[in-house]
Amino acid sequence: MKTRPMQIVALVLLAVLLAGCPKPILKWEPAEAEETTPSEAAAEENPRAAAALQLTGQGRRLLEERKPDKAIHALEQAVSLDPTNGQNYYYLSEAWLMKGSAPQAKEFNHLAEIHLKEDNEWMIRVAQQADRIAELEK
């Protein structure tokens, strides 16, 4: 099949239009500033939290590999060890977004908000996540 010049123009236009659209809501955006390797001092002070960070890291990697079920399992284990780390809830929300479940994503986003309230950088991401959940709900 021959491609006509008009078709090419139409495709380019479509690409330009799409580039202006919001990002696909299910796109996984890996964190850049996060640190999931605990320092020795942190591990000494709260070993449970330090061990949980390992699982948080695993969960994040599994999300990057787009394996939400396995990620959820690792992150739930992390929550079991350290229920105060809001990152786990953020990533759990992300996993549920990946699975297309807005209600669960919303609950975990809310928990992330509660636990990450004092971290401005994370709160921006939590807010962006809430927007993506709202998009999914539409």
Binding site: P47, L81, P83
Partner: protein
């Protein structure tokens, strides 16, 4: 005439032959159906959760060692060299890990060293290359297998797993010509006949293994000629359809080999663990001969029943092996000298039976019982067997302690004895870590955590106080004066547990000291409908009505639902669905079901925290303060509960990581003559002390929306210099006291009195 007779005889012969053929064909189909069904019936296996180990983690050495043994690790006196070996020294635990295989993670086993000091893990490292391991996951523990409604125990084996000496011992004991005959051993029958005639009694049976199998599968134990005929016919059919090794494999998996309480032990795989605590491949020759000897009459020759009888039967088997040249004379002499030693067992060995019942109920909505006993599913659960062991131990010890301290609580009939129940959950995830539904499952299968409906008493009060948070602060003053209420035309006069002189008391102190009068006063001020509305959000399935006695926990609740409701306080206002099931995987490792943390937001985090802060004061200074001298020195929030006439004793306590509910009482509602603090709380303390791995020791973290203010302990207003014993109290933001304490402020009445007293004292001094 003769011709006619011959004709009839031939006709009868043909008809009989035809009948036999049709019957044989029918039996053949039956065999096919039954064998193929049975052979491919693979039980579903229930597993506990995996166990996480990490540096800095505290552990209970006794329970942890039992856990490793339950996982199948065998203690050795050298550095573990193969999978499943375990070496324990005072400072290190060396384990050659088994493979880990769950739907979510797989890894091959490797040797690992866990260094510890003072029951705390210092480091975890690989023995082979020294690499440090930050977090280690131990495989899940097998809890049970679904094998039919009777829960018969069976550990399936394939013929390749059976050691040769066991096969020979079985053949020597039961059918040494197994590989020569075609299902029926006519030589054997003749020999048995001669022996029996010689002794004038039945001394020997002529049944082959195949006949025994036919008998077990298809026939009743009745000793009739018809049954014997059927048995022979079936044996021949089985031999025609299956090869010898297949028949032997089915036989070894099927044969009844003893009784463990109410549970039948079927097959050599299971019996090997029951009698000797090890897999089949590790049985010694003497042990194999003991097991083969059991086939004749398992309970009669059981090493648990009569060691002398067991020995003499074993010796018969060994001698038969020697006669069949499967054993030399020298070997025989060595084996005959071996002692009879069984591993020992407890009658009720089903792990976490109440939890399993609860899980089975959940599974019923997903699978039919016959599927569970045949599809070979792997069922992964939330159970932590270390917590389960600790809970079972704490309950048993606590109930015995109560009975010995008060002989009135002792009952002769086992089913009337003092009861107790425990459920342990993770408040944030809803995972049920342990469930003990009663004192003794073999006596009563009634699950007091999931099936009982009991009045919670004061353990219900937190929901009354929560309902008041919109209008009342922790320092709002309540009346603790006796009052009468009219309910349905009847006079109701609540009383405090004991007479007190505090006629006015703050909200916080009323909960801390569990005052009934102040609580009812609060309930009436906020409105009973308001309490019912609030409480209905917490998913209690039992009816709660707007009667004043609601405030004192007079309506029955299901203990699991009460525990779930308390999770909301520990989990920033979010309620989890209680989970026992994590996932189901089929025999080809496909995930069929996966349950995830399922949560629902019920109250704002700030309100949940205010409740936790008040419930922490119950533990620090109130009715649960005895936890401190019971070794619980880390931050805990909780509430005691006692019902009318001391029928129920409760304690629900939690940290951010774990929540446990303990109930003690009699099934028939007899008094236990003890409060929640005296009966249930010590059990809770014992449980928590036994699972140090769940102790995070971190303070409950205040969320946004709460403020900590130093207040006057008398007026509840902002403390000033003269306020006696000012205390820090958490308030919801916007609900803090607006005024400084006027009573103790300069120029206040109290301050004036203090000043006057000072003047008097100063004058006296002069």
């Amino acid at each position: 005439m003769l011709k006619k007779l011959l004709k009839y005889a031939l006709l009868i012969f043909v008809l009989a032959g035809l009948g036999l053929t049709i019957y044989g064909w029918y039996l053949s189909n039956q065999v096919e159906k039954r064998f193929s069904a049975r052979r491919w019936q693979i039980p579903s296996t229930v597993y506990s959760d995996t166990t996480l180990l990490y540096p800095g983690q505290r552990f209970n050495p006794t329970i942890f060692t039992r856990k490793l043994i339950n996982l199948g690790y065998r203690r050795v006196n050298h550095l573990p060299a193969k999978k499943g070996e375990l070496q324990i020294t005072p400072v290190e635990i060396n384990i050659f890990l088994n493979d880990l295989k769950t739907p979510w993670r797989t890894r091959a086993g490797f040797p690992v060293r866990v260094m510890s000091a003072d029951n705390k893990i210092e480091t975890i490292s690989r023995i082979d290359n020294g690499d440090k391991i930050p977090i280690l996951e131990l495989e899940p523990e097998e809890i049970m297998q679904f094998f039919g409604p009777e829960r018969e125990r069976r550990h399936l084996i394939s013929i390749e797993q059976v050691p040769e000496h066991l096969v020979r011992a079985v053949l020597a004991a039961e059918d040494h010509r197994f590989y020569q005959h075609a299902g029926v051993d006519f030589r054997g029958i003749l020999r048995a006949l001669i022996t029996n005639l010689r002794h004038g009694a039945i001394r020997q049976g002529g049944s082959t293994l195949t006949q025994q199998l036919a008998k077990n599968y298809f026939l009743t134990p009745a000793r009739t000629l018809t049954r014997k005929f059927k048995e022979v016919l079936l044996a021949v059919i089985i031999e025609l359809k299956y090869d010898k090794n297949e028949i032997l494999e089915i036989y070894l998996n099927e044969i009844y080999l003893g009784q463990k309480g109410s549970v039948a032990i079927n097959g050599f795989g299971e019996a090997s663990y029951f009698y000797f605590g090890k897999p089949l491949k590790e049985l010694t020759l003497s042990e194999a001969a003991i097991m083969a000897g059991l086939i004749k009459a398992p309970n009669h020759y059981s090493p648990y029943r009569d060691k002398a009888r067991c020995r003499s039967r074993r010796d018969v088997v060994l001698q038969s092996m020697q006669r069949n040249q499967w054993l030399s004379e020298a070997e025989l002499q060595v084996e005959l000298k071996q002692p009879i030693k069984a591993v020992g067992f407890t009658v009720s060995d089903t792990k976490a039976p109440y939890f399993i019942d609860y899980l089975t109920e959940q599974l019923k909505s997903l699978y039919r019982p016959e599927d569970l006993s045949s599809l070979g599913l792997s069922v992964y659960t939330t159970l932590d067997t270390q917590v389960q062991m600790a809970a079972e131990g704490a309950l048993a010890k606590g109930l015995e302690r109560l009975e010995s301290s008060n002989p009135d609580l002792q009952r002769q009939a086992p089913e009337q004895k003092l009861q107790g129940a425990i459920v342990v959950m993770q408040p944030k995830t809803g995972h049920i870590l342990a469930m003990v539904g009663g004192r003794n499952y073999s006596i009563s299968q009634f699950n007091r955590i999931t099936q009982a409906r009991r009045q919670p008493g004061s353990a219900f009060k937190p929901f009354v106080y929560l309902s008041a948070l919109a209008k009342f602060t922790p320092t709002t003053l309540l009346s603790n004066d006796p009052k009468s209420y009219t309910v349905d035309g009847k006079l109701w006069e609540p009383k405090n547990f004991e007479p007190v002189t505090e006629y006015t008391v703050s909200v916080k102190n009323a909960l801390k000291k569990s005052y009934n009068l102040a609580t009812v006063d609060l309930a009436m001020k906020i409105g009973l409908d308001q309490i019912v509305d609030m409480t209905s959000k917490f998913h209690f399935s039992t009816p709660l009505k707007p009667y004043p006695s609601l405030a004192l926990g007079a309506f029955e609740v299901i203990p699991l639902e009460l525990a779930r409701a308390y999770c909301v306080f520990a989990a920033e206002g979010v309620q989890p669905f209680p989970l026992s099931l994590k996932g189901v995987v089929d025999e080809h490792d496909n995930i069929l079901e996966q349950t995830h943390l399922n949560i629902e937001r019920l109250i704002p985090p700030a309100e949940a925290f205010i409740m936790t802060a008040m419930l922490q004061s119950v533990v620090n200074e109130g009715t649960a303060r005895s936890l401190k001298w019971r070794g619980v020195s880390w931050p805990v929030a909780g509430k005691t509960g006692t019902t009318n006439d001391f029928r129920d004793a409760w304690f629900v306590g939690y940290t951010s990581d774990i929540l446990a509910l303990v109930w003690v009482g009699f099934d028939n509602g007899d008094t236990i003559a003890a409060t929640g603090a005296a009966a249930a709380l010590p059990i809770w303390a014992d449980l928590m002390n036994a699972i140090p791995q769940y102790r995070s020791e971190t303070e409950f973290k205040a969320p946004q929306g709460v403020e900590k203010i130093l207040v006057c302990s008398v007026t509840g207003l902002i403390a000033v210099d003269n306020c006696p014993e000012p205390a820090e109290v958490y308030f919801l933001a916007g609900h803090t006291p607006a005024e400084p304490c006027a009573l103790h402020a300069k120029g206040g009445i109290a301050a004036k009195i203090i000043e006057s007293l000072k003047d008097v004292i100063d004058e006296d001094d002069r």
